[in-house]
Symmetry: C2
Subunit: 229 residues, 2 copies
């Protein structure tokens, strides 16, 4: 049994949830509001970031990319369901894209959008709460368009984002897009290939729990849960 | 034969050089000034960051952490010189610390110091060049003290930073500190344990090439190359 410290709209937490789900691993979810810097959580992960996976008998596993490596080594490889493929060249490409999505797409687009539009609603003034910064939103939305175009380019070139098969690269990208799709911030009409790829990923059973998350007072657009939007 | 696109004072490039050196792998170094966004380099690595390792017959390997995983899988495991240990719990801790040093120590302290004090000397005004920002320097120096204290705490608790043996965690931390030690920006007198640990890592043969790097017009402090400072 696993426990995941997460936030429902933290895109990296969503990636970890998809990775756990694809491996068929039941997980207890604990919502963590990292901006509160809860002492017991900082003790688990000095970086004070979600997600953190707790697996009995092991040190806390911090960060989506490290959780993905752990799950592949302990479950994916054994079950023959490798979301991090065995061939060296494929591993390089999957890891490159995990980093691209969890670092670049996160910091340039999804992180600012989620922080400004969701987290700030729950933060006190001392924690950085308040109205969203329109400058941040504008920059993040512009960056989202570039990232969507890159995802579309990958989707047109390959069957899945990193190659022939589903990998962590798809889960990382879809997790990030899903968090801002809830906010209506993905311009799907700009890229048919990206949209068609996302529909495929979104239809997977592991994705369902993400589509059920909701925020009081901030409903998602109608297409968010629609599997054929 | 490997080729590494790097910058002599990019701390993540230094980590990759140490990893290659510890594995006994000869590498051709090509200096890359990422702020010039050279087209052929951006084609190699869309993230436009150093380091990037070229290994014949494989896609370019971008990023110090991904290079480290690659070297462990292709050389470390085979040669029995694992800088990423085999035990699951140890792998979690080493990966946690690689990320801590390459992401946190980098963005909070070493990245800003190197950018303000070294890169900016070579950048045009359009590229962001100019005089160092004293605010950035002040914040980065304060953060360096916290990071040094954390490294000291690890060094007092364990033989090497991640446990009994030398791992990538030591190389990542030492690579980062070495870049700002050249600038005289590590307050060694604040932490004896960190200093004693650094002297041990710095004395390794793989470290020597880093100590020979120098910048015209900006000599290092006397202790920089001293193995027993």
């Amino acid at each position: 049994m696993f426990t995941l410290f997460h936030h429902p709209f933290c895109p990296r937490s969503r990636f970890a949830r998809l990775a756990l789900g694809e491996h068929g691993l039941e997980t207890r979810l604990v919502e963590e509001r990292v901006w509160e810097r809860r002492e017991a959580f900082v003790a688990l992960n000095p970086a004070a970031e979600t997600p953190v996976l707790i697996s009995e008998g092991l040190p806390p596993i911090p960060g989506a990319a490290i959780i993905a490596e752990y799950l592949d080594e302990t479950h994916g490889a054994a079950l023959g369901r490798r979301l991090l493929p065995a061939a060296i060249a494929d591993r390089i490409e999957v890891r490159r894209l995990i980093s691209w999505f969890c670092d670049r797409l996160y910091s340039e687009a999804v992180g600012p959008l989620v922080t400004e539009r969701i987290y700030k609603r729950y933060m006190s003034v001392e924690q950085g709460g308040g109205a969203p910064s329109t400058d941040m939103l504008r920059a993040a939305k512009t960056n989202t368009r570039y990232h969507l175009a890159y995802i579309g380019w990958l989707a047109r070139t390959r069957n899945f984002l990193a190659g022939d098969d589903l990998t962590y690269a798809d889960l990382a990208a879809a997790a990030h897009l899903s968090a801002i799709d809830y906010l209506g911030d993905v311009p799907w009409d700009e890229d048919d290939a990206a949209k068609a790829w996302y529909v495929r990923i979104k239809s997977r059973p592991a994705f369902r729990p993400l589509l059920n998350d909701s925020l009081p007072g901030l409903p998602p657009p109608a297409h968010y849960t629609d599997l054929d939007f």
